[in-house]
């Protein structure tokens, strides 16, 4: 984990490429950034790491001109600059690649790069100039992209490259990448890192915003750690370790590995046969998927985001109707019986959804009202025709104590809780219903490290209690840490099944990219 294949010593230079002095930013009563001062050396790859809500994105949005700081100054190459909009940032030589690409999908690569920098009333002149410029860039940095391909037809890794080209084409010397590997396979991520190393060799400065310790260790020269809106440490990557960084991020010692014994699989609880799920347009998203889930095991579904895992999970949970196939829970075919999410919950099929804010909680509700979502018609919560408010309140208090949800105040608005605490409450809700099978999507997305540790322990405890768990996660580390058996999905199909003992990141990565694994044809 400590190998740093792409690191080189940063070139010596007098003024830092980017310097922040005393940046303060307040949203209402929240201080998102407090007295941030740091310097980023020219020609280096600088990591910015911190948990969700630590203020990384706010800080980068200030640098890129989306927000204006309440106080403090920004210096680029030693000179104070006023950045009031992304245009100002671009003019100052700062480029940003967002986590969600800002590309027009049905435009070509060239059109996308030119967009916003057309260079005059007539498009043709600008296009020709841009083409020449891009070809030059491609030669200089080895950033080969088919300029006339339509963006939607490019793989995600190349789309990201288009974003980088776009920033370079606008003259960026400082490149900010926000969680760039979220949508990439491990191999694609490696390619990205090689590209970043090449950019650095050409004198560009790269700021890598991420929450993945592995990436920081692999590619950066220095790393700045943020917690609760402030900088809590800045170190040279060579002289630190993932454990030390994690402790700085959380503010206490954390366990990075999951302790668990080998699984003791029992009877088959859930059997999926030839499942096919189509989207609204009739395009199959899940194709002929079959697998079983036994009591006392965690089965992980690995895959790059958008390869049918979400649709599979939703079909199992009763949110999306499959177009074909069977979902059999302890002998009952849920599809044929037409059971919705509520009916399935009653049979013991609980579900922690992938996207907590979109589906798992109602943002406008209090914690206690969220703690009964999906269970609001249970007899415990009724008193005659009315809801039993005191039972709801008491039930939520109990869950909050048992799952260490902070602050343990059921009346508080759910939005006032951190992602980790929201997720703990959702888990508490689904696990407390005593399910036979638990479907979990992205259990630790947007969750701080401290809570990740807690959630992983809970899931293993649940497995040891004889429940069957299906885990969908795009974090390969999480799958490797938790799952006893791993299924890999690529464009809607299960391309392979690997026992945990035989799984390596490399092997899974190849399968995620669509190379069929053994065990299945």
């Amino acid at each position: 984990m400590n190998s740093r294949p792409f690191a080189v010593t940063p070139s010596e230079s007098s003024a830092p490429a980017l310097e922040l002095r005393g940046i303060d930013k307040r949203f209402g009563a929240v201080r998102a950034n407090r007295a941030i001062s740091c310097a980023i050396a020219a020609g280096s790859i600088h990591g910015l790491i911190g948990e969700n809500g630590a203020g990384k994105s706010t800080l980068m949005n200030i640098v890129y001109g989306f927000h204006r700081a309440d106080a403090g100054e920004i210096r680029v190459a030693g000179r104070v600059v006023e950045i009031g909009s992304p245009q100002d940032a671009i003019a100052a030589g700062i480029g940003m690649v967002h986590q969600h690409f800002m590309l027009v999908e049905n435009f070509t690569v060239l059109e996308n790069v030119v967009l916003g920098a057309e260079g005059g009333r007539r498009l043709a002149g600008g296009m020709a100039a841009a083409r020449a410029g891009l070809e030059q860039l491609a030669r200089d940095y080895g950033l080969d992209v088919p300029l006339d391909a339509v963006v939607s037809e490019l793989p995600v890794g190349l789309q990201q490259r288009v974003e980088i080209l776009k920033a370079l084409h606008r003259g960026a010397d400082i490149l900010i990448l926000d969680e760039p590997t979220a949508v990439l396979t491990p191999q694609e991520a490696d390619q990205l890192f090689k590209m970043l190393a090449r950019l650095r060799a050409q004198g560009k400065t790269v700021i890598l915003v991420t929450h993945k310790l592995r990436e920081i260790m692999a590619v950066t020269d220095r790393v700045t750690v943020m917690r609760q809106g402030a900088i809590v440490g800045e170190v040279e990557t060579k002289s630190t370790s993932p454990r030390e960084l994690a402790e700085k991020m959380v503010g206490r010692a954390v366990l990075l590995r999951v302790d668990k014994t080998p699984a003791q699989p029992g009877a088959t609880l859930l059997a999926v046969r030839n499942l096919e799920v189509r989207d609204r347009l009739g395009v199959p998203r899940v194709k002929n998927v079959s697998f079983t889930l036994q009591a006392g095991e965690i089965v992980g579904i690995a895959g790059v985001a958008g390869n049918g895992q979400s649709e599979l999970l939703e079909a199992l949970a009763g949110i999306r109707a499959p177009s074909r196939g069977e979902i059999v829970l302890e002998g009952r075919d849920l599809v044929r019986e037409g059971m919705d999410a509520r009916a399935r919950r009653r049979l013991g099929l609980a579900h922690v959804p992938e996207d907590r804010l979109r589906m798992g909680v109602v943002a406008g509700f209090s914690a206690e009202d969220n703690a009964i979502l999906g269970y609001h018609d249970l007899p415990v919560y009724q008193r005659g025709l009315l809801l039993n408010r005191s039972a709801i309140h008491g039930g939520c208090t109990q869950k909050m104590v048992a799952y260490d949800v902070r602050p343990p105040d059921p009346g508080l608005h759910i939005a006032s809780f951190s992602g980790g605490n929201q997720q703990k409450l959702v888990l508490a809700r689904e696990i407390d219903s005593d399910p036979r099978v638990l479907l979990i999507g992205q259990p630790t997305r947007g969750v701080d490290i401290g809570a990740i540790e807690f959630i992983h322990k809970k899931l293993v405890t649940l497995r040891d209690a004889g429940k069957a768990l299906l885990l969908v996660s795009v974090e390969l580390d999480e799958i490797l840490g938790l799952a006893d058996r791993i299924l890999v999905m690529n464009s809607g199909e299960i391309v392979g099944e690997v026992a945990r003992a035989d799984a390596t990141e490399e092997k899974l990565g190849l399968m995620m990219a669509g190379v069929k694994g053994e065990g299945r044809t």
């Binding site: 307040r26 209402g28 009563a29 399935r344 109602v362 943002a363 406008g364 509700f365 809801l387």
Partner: protein, 369 residues
Amino acid sequence: MSTPAKLPRWAELGLLPAINLLAALLLSGVIIKVIGESPWAALKLMADGAFGSQESVGYTLYYSTNFIFTGLAVAVAYHAGLFNIGGDGQAYLGGLGTGLVCLWLGSWPFWAVLPLAVIAGAVFGAAWAFIPAYLQARRGSHIVITTIMFNFIASALMTWLLVNILIKPGQQSPESREFAPNATLPGLHTLLGKIGIPFTSTPLNLAFLFALAAGVLVWVLVWRTRWGYALRVAGQNSAAAVYAGIRPSRITIQAMLLSGALAGLLGLNELMGSQHRILLDFPAGAGFVGIAVALMGRNHPVGIFFAAVLFGALMQGGSQLSFDMPRVNRDMVVVIQGLVILFCGALENVFRGPLATLLARFGGRKDAP
């Protein structure tokens, strides 16, 4: 950030609406000044006209009763994530139901007519809301568009009925014959008189108490039952509703039925309580005022009550104003009402950000040692 700033509860429910109202009155004052009248005198005239005597209070609350019904109707739909613009049409048709019961069952005793009149008003109003609701739930036709269209259809239908069928024979104006006395609601002055409290005779009637009861009922249904819970989940996050096993399309239909039923009760006040006949255009835009009332009242029955009283006061005080200040005519009063709607509804977030910042700074200073 694009989400509106969060305010403490007291500021959200009390201070912000008060500031918005003040801004509207201030601008109204400027306009009155421009046309050459004294804003201060106008304000006094309006306040006096709305609350200065038993008679004016009676009229104010009589108007408010309509707005409570339509405001509640808008609020129930709002909590299900629906924007019901069709309150006027639903009130119109609901009034037809109430009116028909009162016309046909005039010989029945009052205690038998009353529940039937209430039920008929609710059922007719609900039925008129059902069609747009069904189209939204099953066909995806946008409810804002369909409810607006149904206002026009209701208007045309009622004109036809009144001109061709319900009109009292041998009469020029399109009105039904008058209801029998035992098919009318007693005035509140009569009821108060019975328990020994003298009150001037005004159109304020028993329907006012029905409106208050409807407010309580809505509160219990929306915030204290599992149906209300499902309604609010579906309204705020339909993906979460499906996740929880709640069917948003079913909630859409149920919420619109209740919404239409509430609007349909307007006929109790207007026809059974005051006019004692069915006549053209009796909702008089109350369905639209209900939207402003619900917005200003934060879609909560208590807020809706106060907002309805405010709009009742604008209505009553405004007519007093145009009577006493000839230069401030009826249209000017509509302008003032429009400004209140503009500031309390459309521009309600204008002062939110600065207020939040101010309170945060003020609160922050208080916390500091």
